[in-house]
């Protein structure tokens, strides 16, 4: 066991730090052109799509280098490396793994250059956790598929240019995972209607998406017909590694500690309160566990050992921390804590109150905690399904 990095890895970390020192001014000093310049600079470094093969414009970074890059970026609270979030997170990797050469040429550069926004059309009104049972129908007619059906909870649909869409091409199948086909569809195709849905925090980021006789050319199919489930699985597996998240959560813990230091309860600093201190310790233990879990899983991958579903452990920690840290801050600060941005007494500008209404994105969005527990119980422990 050795927690030190090799010389090359340390050199890479130094390179990232130097770059950040030179190119990342403090938030207050960032002018109007900053974001587009930033995107261009990190693109030139080939840090966008850092894990992707060089021939498609990626950086061919090793797994460890990827982890270092993510960690340093998060430590510096740097903006994202690209704005095509889902494109970078899983659509791009899916296309690299399953796409034709022509598809790679066509889609990858635009994702890397933040030119095209993708959204993910998996969930349906009747099929969320049970994703493999989706019913949106795609019927082959000549050199097109004709799509009819409905998706829901599609994050980013109101402004996305493209959707990665899970459809069913076969209904008479033995296993529901068969007969699923993945299509890449421009959102301005006739027959697509988007209806935004407002969430409890007052945002309308996700939407219902309706498909009525939508024509999709066969060349927009990703992977083989009827084998779309494999594409989906790989996309889900490509959900970003947790290392950058861990760094962000450590940063959030620091903000929480600052809050504790400056809050008074019953005339005494909250930081003197044993129950407060205990909670802070618990948060740190969970985040640190996520960090070292992540490093252990990374090591497994580096050694070429198969990863099972261990990553669900970190997803569950992340879900509970996502709820508990905000709620802790809100509870600690009482009636000031429940004030939203704009309130005279709002704590830290109301950020805790506001983000305490945002957890479902993390907790439900990527598969619910119950489903993560089922995955651990069934796939790792071998327990029977219910």
């Amino acid at each position: 066991m050795d927690f030190d990095f090799t010389q090359e890895e340390q050199a890479f970390r130094a390179e990232v730090r130097d770059f950040l020192a030179e190119n990342l001014p403090p938030p207050a000093e960032r002018g109007r052109g900053f974001m587009s310049e930033w995107l261009q600079k990190v693109r030139d470094k080939r840090w966008v799509g850092f894990s992707w093969p060089e021939e498609y414009g990626g950086g061919a970074g090793s797994l460890t280098e990827q982890a270092i890059l993510k960690e340093e970026m998060a430590l510096a609270r740097a903006p994202a490396l690209g704005t095509s979030f889902m494109g970078l997170a899983w659509v791009g990797p899916g296309i690299i793994q399953y796409g034709t050469d022509e598809q790679k040429q066509r889609f990858i550069p635009d994702i890397l250059d933040s030119k095209v926004n993708w959204c993910t059309g998996y969930s349906e009104p009747n099929h969320g956790s049970d994703l493999a049972a989706i019913q949106t129908k795609a019927e082959r007619v000549g050199d097109h598929y004709v799509v009819n059906g409905q998706k829901i909870w599609t994050t980013g649909a109101p402004w996305a240019d493209w959707i990665i869409l899970l459809t069913r091409t076969e209904f008479e199948v033995e296993r529901k995972h068969d007969g699923i086909t993945c299509l890449l569809v421009p959102m301005d195709t006739p027959g697509i209607e988007v209806r935004p849905i407002e969430n409890m925090a007052g945002d309308s980021n996700f939407a219902e998406v309706f498909f009525t006789d939508v024509q999709v050319p066969v060349e927009n199919r990703l992977g083989e017909e009827g084998k779309g489930w494999a594409v989906t699985i790989s996309a889900l597996a490509n959900e970003r590694s947790s290392i950058g998240e861990v760094t962000q959560m450590f940063a959030k813990l620091e903000s929480l500690k600052n809050l504790v230091r400056t809050t008074t309860r019953q005339g005494r600093p909250a930081s003197d309160d044993p129950s407060v201190r205990r909670r802070i310790g618990e948060f740190e233990a969970k985040i640190a566990a996520m960090k070292y879990n992540g490093l252990r899983y990374l090591t497994k991958q580096l050694r070429g050992e198969p990863l099972s579903s261990e990553t669900s452990v970190n997803k569950l920690h992340r879900a509970s921390l996502e709820i508990e840290m905000d709620d802790f801050a809100v509870e600690l600060t009482g009636l000031a804590g429940v004030q939203l941005p704009g309130g005279d007494e709002a704590v830290d500008g109301g950020r805790w109150a506001r983000s305490s209404l945002g957890w479902p994105g993390v907790v439900i969005g990527g598969g619910t905690p119950n489903i993560q527990r089922n995955i651990i119980a069934e796939r790792i422990l071998g327990l029977p399904k219910d």
Binding site: D130, M200, R265, G334, V338, Q339, L340, P360
Partner: protein, 357 residues
């Protein structure tokens, strides 16, 4: 021993429940922004709910907090925007702390609903520190009260003041102060900051530290009673959904991950309900027991309802996250309940202290 409600109390419960379903459903609740329809306030007054705990000598019904408990519980079930809690707290405070002249002037108007009270006790956001009362008392009042409940639609405000170590209460005309509504997570529990510039109180009287503690306990009990209804509504909504939502070919309620969480909700609600009923009884019939009873009830309810609020949304999946769906309204209430009149941390520590530690 008879730890059950009387026939009158059960009829009262039915009456409030019918009112909430027919006149004040969640569609009406959602349409409010820090206020309430006058018509509903009138009806509540006509039905006698504002007069319940006001003594008969002052135009009230002379009943007790355990009768009011039924009203608060059913109001909470439907997240009623009517400030019945603040009105009751004002009645209790005036009845306990003021002299006969103040009582004769104000209690009858409280009972008829002709005045609507907003209440501002603590200026400390955690609502537990008597030292956190900052507004200086006197002939005229100048200063600020950052957290005044139900102030935006009130005709009058009951504000705690201090002169060195001596606490007091002042009744001021809401028209004499500058009010600023504050954006809170739970819109059904509106708060405002109030600033006063040489405002002459319409009445002012002393309040002891023990009085303040008693009023805080009444508030904590009231919040907990409302939380019973709200938590039960969350459980009912989620249970119904679990019976009808199909995933993997079964209703999700068939899976233990869902089923056991709902059973846990039931266990918790049953339990803080019993604690809260006992505390509500203690308000009038065993005030010496009130501090401990109120702390145990409020602490248990605050933590349990917070969990229930989250699971109410979470067990629905994504639909629970939508603005249109009602589960989120209860989640938001649970966040307010946590902080109102002392959080669980404070109340558990207080219970331990009262228990001899």
């Amino acid at each position: 021993m008879d730890f059950g409600f009387s026939e009158e109390q059960n009829l009262l419960r039915e009456q409030v429940s019918r009112f909430m379903t027919d006149a004040c459903p969640l569609s009406v609740v959602r349409a409010q922004n820090g206020g309430f329809p006058d018509e509903l306030w009138r009806q509540a007054a006509d039905l006698g709910w504002l007069a319940l705990i006001v003594p008969e000598a002052h135009g009230g019904l002379g009943l007790k907090w355990i009768d009011l408990a039924v009203v608060l519980e059913e109001s909470g079930r439907g997240l009623s925007p009517l400030p019945i809690l603040s009105q009751a707290l004002a009645a209790t405070a005036i009845g306990r702390c003021s002299g006969d002249d103040v009582k004769s002037e104000w209690l009858p108007q409280i009972a008829t609903g002709d005045v609507v009270f907003g209440v501002g006790l603590y200026d400390d956001p955690t609502w537990i520190d008597p030292k956190g009362v900052g507004l200086e008392g006197g002939e005229t009042l100048t200063g600020a009260k950052p957290f005044v409940s139900d102030a935006t639609r009130a005709t009058h405000l009951l504000l705690a003041t201090r002169n060195r170590e001596r606490l007091g209460l002042a009744i001021v005309d809401a028209g004499d102060v500058t009010l600023k509504a504050q954006p809170g997570i739970d819109r059904t529990k509106p708060f405002a900051s109030v600033s006063l510039d040489r405002v002459k109180p319409l009445a002012a009287f002393a309040m002891s530290t023990a009085d303040l503690a008693y009023l805080t306990d009444c508030g904590a009990v009231a919040v907990t009673l409302e939380a019973i209804g709200a938590a039960e509504a969350t459980m009912a909504l989620t249970t119904e959904y679990a019976k009808t939502r199909i995933q993997f070919d079964n209703p999700i309620g068939k899976y233990q991950g869902v089923k056991h969480r709902l059973a846990d909700m039931f266990i918790d609600i049953e339990s803080f309900k019993s604690l809260a009923y006992y505390a509500a009884w203690a308000v009038d019939d065993a005030p010496e027991e009130l501090p401990r009873a109120a702390s145990l009830a409020k602490a248990y309810a605050a933590d349990a309802f917070a969990r229930i609020g989250i699971d109410g949304v979470g067990l629905h999946g994504a639909i629970g996250f939508t603005a249109e769906y009602d589960a989120q309204l209860y989640l938001k209430r649970s966040k307010w309940v946590r902080s109102a009149f002392g959080d669980a941390d404070y109340h558990y520590q207080r219970a331990a202290a009262l228990g001899g530690l």
